[in-house]
Amino acid sequence: MSPEEPPPVSRRALLRSGAAAALGAGLAGCGFLPEDRDAFGDPDRPIDVKADGDLVYFNWADFVAPAVFDGFEKEYGVKVVQSNFDSMEGMAAKLNAGNRYDIIFPTAKWAQRLADGGRLRRIDHSRLRHAGAVFGTYRYFADPWYDRRSAHTVPFTMYKTGIGWRKDRIGDDLTGSWKDLWNARAKGQVFVLDDRDEVLGMAALRLGLDVGTSDPRDLARITATLQSLRPRLRGFSSDSYNNLLNGNAAMTQAWSGDMAAMLGQAKDPSVLGFEVAREGAPINSDCYAIPANARHPGTAMLFIDYMLRPENVRKNIRYIGYPMPVGGSEDVYASIVKPFPQCLVSPDDLKADLFFRNVSPAGEQARDTAWTHVKAG
C-alpha cells in the first residue's frame, strides 16, 4: 500500500458526499450544484493500478472494438458497463449531474475545462506499461496545451478537418484551398459542418486569421466571408457521411474520420475525394480521462494500459477508422485510408497546432453571436 493512501472515509463524510451526489442527481443540469470539491473527490490522490471493480465506461457509441472489450473482461475478471454520449455538452451535463463513471473520453478543449475544474484524477504515466509508445513517439502529447504534462489525460484518437467531394460530379482535382468550397461547379450542392468552431475556423484560415479568434474585427471579416458562401450552400450539416453518399452534397466540409468510414461503405469509393487545405486544417484529439469521482479508478488505469497494447491499438484503429498517437500503429491506419492519405495525422500536423481552444466568456459570446449571424443569414 502506498503511504499516500487517504485515511478511510469517515461516516459523516460519506453521508455528506452521498447527500451531495443525491442533490446533484436531483438537480441535474439546473445550475444549482454546489461548488463543492468534496462532492467530486480529491483529484490528486494517486491511483493504485489494480482491478477494483467493474469498469463504468462512457464514450461515443461504437468507439472501441467489441473484441477488445471481451478480452479485457476475460483477462481481469471484470465487466465493462457501457454508456454513451452524443456530444461533449451531453457528456458534461451527465458529469455535472453527479453521475459517476470510471473512464471518459473528452476532446482536448473539454479535457482542459474538466481538468481546470478539478474534475479529473491525476494519471501517473509511469504506472502505465505501454505509455511509452504514446509519449515517446508523439512528443506533442508529452506537454499539450490542454493539460500540462498530460497530468490528467492520455491521448486516444486524432482527426483533421478538410473537404470531401464527389469526383464524379466536380472532377478529380481541386486546388487544395478552402476556396474550393466556393467552386462554381459545386454551387448549391455545398455543405459545411453544423459546428460553430469548424465553420468560423475554416473562414479564419482562409483569411489568414487565427483559427479560434474572438476578436470582433476578425469575426466581422469572417462573417462577411461566410455570407459570400451562404448563397452557394445547400445546408449546415455534420452528417457528411450520408450527404456525400446519397448525393445531396457534391462537396462538404468533413472530418477525416467520417471520410475514412465512407471508404468502407461506398459502393465505389473511387468517386470520393478528400483534401486538406494548404491554409491549414483544424486538428482535434480526444483522450482517456478518469473523473475525480470515479468509483473504480484502478480498473480504469488497467483499461487504459490494456487499450495501449499494440495488438489492441491495431484492432481499434481497424474498427473505428481513426488514427491514434501510438508509435508503431501508423501502418495500420495508412493501409485503411490509402485512397485518402490526407486523413493521416503526423507529428508535424500536431505541431501546426490548429486546435480549437477555450476562450474567455466574452470571446465565447462574440463567437456565438457571429455563428448566429452566419446561420440565420
Binding site: G31, E89, A93, G235, N246, N248, D368, T369, A376
Partner: protein, 300 residues
C-alpha cells in the same frame, strides 16, 4: 327566525352545491399538481434562467443580468422568428385543406370502418417523429428513390431537389403534425347533427353551398382547435428545418436548440424560449377571444 329564512335557504342551496364543487376540486387536484409541478415550475425556471449566466463548464447559473434580453434585439432573431411564424401558418393552412376531406370522409362515409381508419392514421404517429423524418430525408435525397424515379420518367432533371427548400420544411411540418388536425376535425364532424345538412338541402342549397354555409361553420371549432394544435408544435419545431431545410429555412427552434446544446448557453436559449412563448401567447389570446365569442353566440 322569520327574517333569516330566505338567507338560510340560500345558504342551504349554496352548501349543497359547495359539496359538489368540493368533489370536483378534489378530482382536479392530481392534474393541477402535475401541471404546477412540471409545467408552471419549469416555466418559472426558464423565465428566471433567462436572466442568468454560464460558468466555465457550461453550467447555467442564476443571476440578474439583462444581457440575454438585450441580445433579443438582434435582427437575426426577428427574421428567424417571422420565418417560423410563416412556416407554421402555412403548415396550418395546408393541414386544414388536406385533413378536412380525410376527416369528412371517415366521419360521414366511414361506416363500420371508422375506427379502423382513424387507427390507421394514428398508429404510424406512435413511431418517433425524429426517426420518421430521418427516413424521409433519405427517401427524398437527390440520389434517393423518389427523385430517381421522377428522373427516370422525365418529371425531374439533374438539378431538381426536394430537400433543403421551404417546400420541404413545410411538407415536413405538415407530415409531422397533421394528425392533430384530423382528430379534432373528425370529432367535430362526427358530433355534427346530420339533419343540419338535410335542412340545408331542403332549403335548396346545392352540395357546395350546403358545405360552405352549413357543414363548415358547424365544424369551425374543430378546425380552430386543430389549427392551434398544429400551429404550436410547428412553430417550435426544429427537426423539419434541420433535416429537410437548407441555410435559408432555419427556424427559431433550431436557434434555441443551438443555444442549449452546441452553444451551451442555456440562459440565452431560455430568453429565446420566452420570446417565442410571448409571440405564441399573443396568438393564443386571439384564439381564446374568438372561442369565447363563439360560445357566447352559441349560448344566445
Amino acid at each position: 327566525m322569520a327574517q333569516r329564512t330566505p338567507s338560510g335557504a340560500l345558504r342551504d342551496r349554496r352548501g349543497r352545491s359547495a359539496s359538489g364543487t368540493r368533489l370536483w376540486t378534489w378530482l382536479m387536484l392530481p392534474g393541477t399538481l402535475w401541471m404546477t409541478g412540471f409545467l408552471i415550475a419549469s416555466l418559472i425556471l426558464v423565465a428566471t434562467l433567462a436572466l442568468g449566466t454560464t460558468d466555465p463548464l457550461g453550467n447555467p447559473r442564476f443571476g440578474f443580468n439583462f444581457a440575454n434580453i438585450a441580445a433579443m434585439a438582434d435582427p437575426a432573431y426577428r427574421i428567424v422568428l417571422l420565418r417560423s411564424l410563416g412556416f407554421a401558418l402555412i403548415a396550418c393552412a395546408v393541414c386544414l385543406v388536406v385533413a378536412y376531406p380525410v376527416a369528412y370522409t371517415i366521419a360521414l362515409h366511414g361506416g363500420r370502418f371508422k375506427n379502423l381508419l382513424i387507427a390507421a392514421i394514428v398508429v404510424p404517429f406512435f413511431a418517433n417523429y425524429l426517426v420518421r423524418m430521418y427516413g424521409w430525408s433519405v427517401v427524398l435525397s437527390d440520389g434517393g428513390p423518389v427523385l430517381r424515379a421522377l428522373r427516370a420518367v422525365g418529371l425531374a432533371d439533374a438539378h431538381t431537389k426536394i430537400l433543403q427548400s421551404g417546400t420541404g420544411v413545410v411538407a415536413g411540418l405538415v407530415y409531422g403534425f397533421i394528425v392533430f388536425m384530423i382528430i379534432p376535425l373528425y370529432a367535430a364532424l362526427e358530433r355534427m347533427d346530420l339533419s343540419l345538412i338535410e335542412a340545408g338541402r331542403d332549403l335548396y342549397g346545392g352540395p357546395l353551398r350546403t358545405f360552405f354555409f352549413v357543414t363548415l361553420p358547424a365544424t369551425r371549432q374543430g378546425a380552430a382547435a386543430g389549427a392551434v394544435l398544429v400551429f404550436l408544435p410547428a412553430m417550435g419545431d426544429f427537426v423539419s428545418a434541420q433535416l429537410m431545410g437548407g441555410p435559408d429555412q432555419i427556424m427559431i427552434g433550431n436557434l434555441i436548440q443551438d443555444k442549449f446544446f452546441q452553444g451551451q448557453n442555456w440562459p440565452l436559449g431560455s430568453a429565446l424560449t420566452m420570446l417565442m412563448m410571448a409571440v405564441l401567447f399573443i396568438g393564443m389570446l386571439g384564439y381564446l377571444r374568438r372561442t369565447r365569442k363563439d360560445e357566447a353566440e352559441a349560448a344566445r
